[in-house]
């Protein structure tokens, strides 16, 4: 019987690169990924040959048929597709393939994530307002909300910083 292992690994939407690198290292060590489940934090591996495998995590509209087909045509294998999150992989020999090969579209991807986080952040405001009266009796809820706000702010600022770095790499003025 082949050796298997299940790993639960938390990651945040603004550092999907970390999970990509981790999966690639697992593959290089001979742990082949067989499934991604549970909101993309449960990873199942099976012992096998070490592989040079490129993993890419992307965010698009959920169940985007045209996008999925185009990536599959280009040789990517889809491992996970839930709530707009996609996990792709492709074996390679020389050049490590990428889903994004130019700066403009990578900036757009990060902007899409900022929009998601900003929406989540704004959605909390009416909830807080509506609950305001009853929340006075449970002040600890405010602490939880403060932590949530800080967390989302942190994510947004991380993504904005990443975009700023990308623009500086390009050197020139922003396109728009």
């Amino acid at each position: 019987m082949s050796e298997r292992k299940h790993v639960k690994k938390w990651w945040f939407s603004w550092d999907s690169e970390k999970i990509e690198r981790w999966l690639e290292e697992m593959e290089a060590d001979g742990w082949q990924l067989t499934a991604v489940t549970g909101n993309a934090i449960r990873f199942d591996f099976e012992r096998g040959e070490p592989r040079r495998m490129r993993y890419c995590v992307d965010y698009q509209t959920p169940g985007n048929r045209d996008y999925i087909l185009l990536c599959q045509d280009a040789g990517w294998e889809l491992l996970y597709d839930q709530k707009g999150w996609y996990v792709w992989r492709m074996p390679y020999t020389d050049a490590r393939p990428d889903l994004y090969t130019d700066l403009d579209t990578l900036l757009d991807r990060n902007k899409r994530l900022v929009a998601v986080l900003a929406t989540l952040l704004c959605a909390q405001v009416p909830i807080l307002v509506a609950l305001h009266g009853s929340l006075n009796r449970f002040p600890f809820v405010y602490v939880i909300y403060a932590a949530l706000f800080a967390f989302l702010f942190f994510g947004i600022s991380r993504l904005n910083a990443a975009n700023k770095r990308l623009r500086e790499q390009r050197g020139g003025l922003p396109r728009n």
């Binding site: 185009l70 090969t101 130019d102 396109r175």
Partner: protein
């Protein structure tokens, strides 16, 4: 979108934009564009699928390219008149670049 707005947003063109638009002077689907550009640049440019999808969506929204037909579930596109106008301007700019490079740099080999 107005021509001036398009010009401001698209010119000068990134290499990705230029080659995608150039490929779409003929009707092509996404993967067809990828193959064509790779062939045309002798393997130098391999467009990422995410980049291609994002650029096509944006160009379609801006009316620079238009959906033509769906075959085998794959959508084909072609440059619109606005798209061709942009391409023409970009080619004129590139020609000037090339002309001036020749004039100043000549054919010295360093």
């Amino acid at each position: 979108m107005k021509r001036e707005t398009l010009q401001r947003q698209y010119l000068p063109m990134s290499e990705t934009m230029f080659y995608i638009l150039l490929a779409l002077t003929e009707v092509r689907h996404g993967y067809g564009i990828m193959q064509y550009v790779e062939e045309l640049t002798e393997g130098r440019i391999r467009l990422g699928a995410g980049t291609l999808y994002g650029t096509l969506s944006r160009m379609e929204k801006d009316g620079v390219i238009a959906f033509v037909r769906e075959e085998d579930r794959r959508k084909s596109y072609q440059a619109t008149e606005d798209g061709r106008a942009l391409l023409k301007q970009e080619i004129a700019r590139l020609s000037e670049l090339h002309r001036n490079a020749r004039r100043v740099w000549g054919d010295r080999d360093e």
